[in-house]
């Protein structure tokens, strides 16, 4: 089955993540809490055509990030990640 046209990647939410995290995030990497696979955020399977953004592990499909934005708030769920590695802004 060919991938959905709606399937993008973490590059597509680079601007959103930069606003939330205050650092460039597409080059950060996540460890999947389900299968342990490590991927750059830019490489995650992203569905952004939804009531919120959903980023999934390219290896096993587990939800790694959910982001909803509304009425002055951002709701962020990273529970699907075991770990998020970001370049230290202070270096």
């Amino acid at each position: 089955m060919p991938p959905s046209e709606l399937l993008l990647d973490g590059n597509a939410i680079g601007g959103l993540l930069r606003e939330i995290f205050a650092v460039e995030m597409t080059s950060a990497s996540s460890t999947c809490g389900g299968c342990g696979a490590v991927h750059a955020i830019g490489r995650l399977d992203v569905y952004a055509n939804a009531p919120g953004v959903v980023a999934r592990c390219p290896a096993c499909g587990q939800v790694l990030m959910r982001i909803v934005r509304g009425r002055g708030r951002v709701w962020l769920d990273l529970a699907g990640m075991r770990c998020l590695q970001i370049a230290d802004p202070d270096t």
Partner: protein
């Protein structure tokens, strides 16, 4: 072509988010790859006009000199390339408008005087759909290590001697640097194109970690 006061130097491969707001507060947002090299002072965006699009017809038909646009960026740190002495050979694979961020990389390579060997494999429907065609021909003729391969998938002009089919394993094998040279690869375009090309390169033995991808949505992003 946008003049952005205080624009920080961007990196080749980065994009901007463009946000449009109507008088009654309705908003639409799209991402566009920056086509210009970081060495240029202005931000060049190449926009593909989609007939049934909500944003692209406005940007291509309505926006005129003097208008202001709301931008967020530059964005990206994964799908970026910087010319430096240590850069391995560069393989760029683009489908349709996916060539735009790759063009920024090619322009950056030229502007920085880099001699890193680079190859572009660019898939378009027909010769009329090839963006930057004359500029690519010029750059390929300079003899500074840049080679351009075109594949026209739907229609070819008379006497066409280039590729005339969708990117496949045989084509990638012919165009790509040998695996032992450990090239750095950037693949960009519609999701199906990117998945197929990146997957094929991995099958050919290229290290998945050396392949960076960026998927465009059906409406460009």
């Amino acid at each position: 072509m946008l003049h952005v006061p205080g624009w920080p130097r961007h990196r080749a491969g980065q994009h901007v988010d463009v946000r449009l707001t109507s008088e009654d507060g309705y908003r639409a947002q799209r991402s566009y790859s920056i086509a210009s090299a970081p060495e240029e002072r202005r931000v060049a965006l190449t926009v593909e006009r989609l007939d049934d699009g909500e944003v692209s017809p406005y940007l291509t038909d309505e926006v005129t000199l003097g208008d202001r646009l709301e931008l967020r960026g530059p964005i990206g740190g994964y799908f970026v390339w910087e010319a430096n002495q240590a850069s391995p050979p560069l393989l760029l694979v683009g489908g349709g408008s996916g060539v735009v961020p790759l063009m920024a990389m090619i322009r950056h390579r030229r502007a920085s005087g880099s001699r890193v060997p680079a190859r572009l494999l660019y898939s378009a429907r027909s010769v009329d759909d090839v963006i930057y065609r004359q500029e690519l021909e010029r750059l390929a003729a300079l003899g500074d290590g840049m080679t351009v391969y075109l594949t026209l998938t739907r229609a070819q002009p008379a006497g066409w001697r280039g590729f005339a089919r969708r990117v496949d394993q045989e084509m990638l094998h012919e165009v790509a640097w040998p695996v032992q040279e450990s090239p750095l690869t950037f693949v960009c375009g519609p999701t199906a194109f990117v998945e197929a090309a990146a997957g094929t390169l991995v099958e050919l033995g290229y290290d998945a970690g050396s392949i960076r991808t960026e998927r465009f949505g059906p409406t460009g992003r």
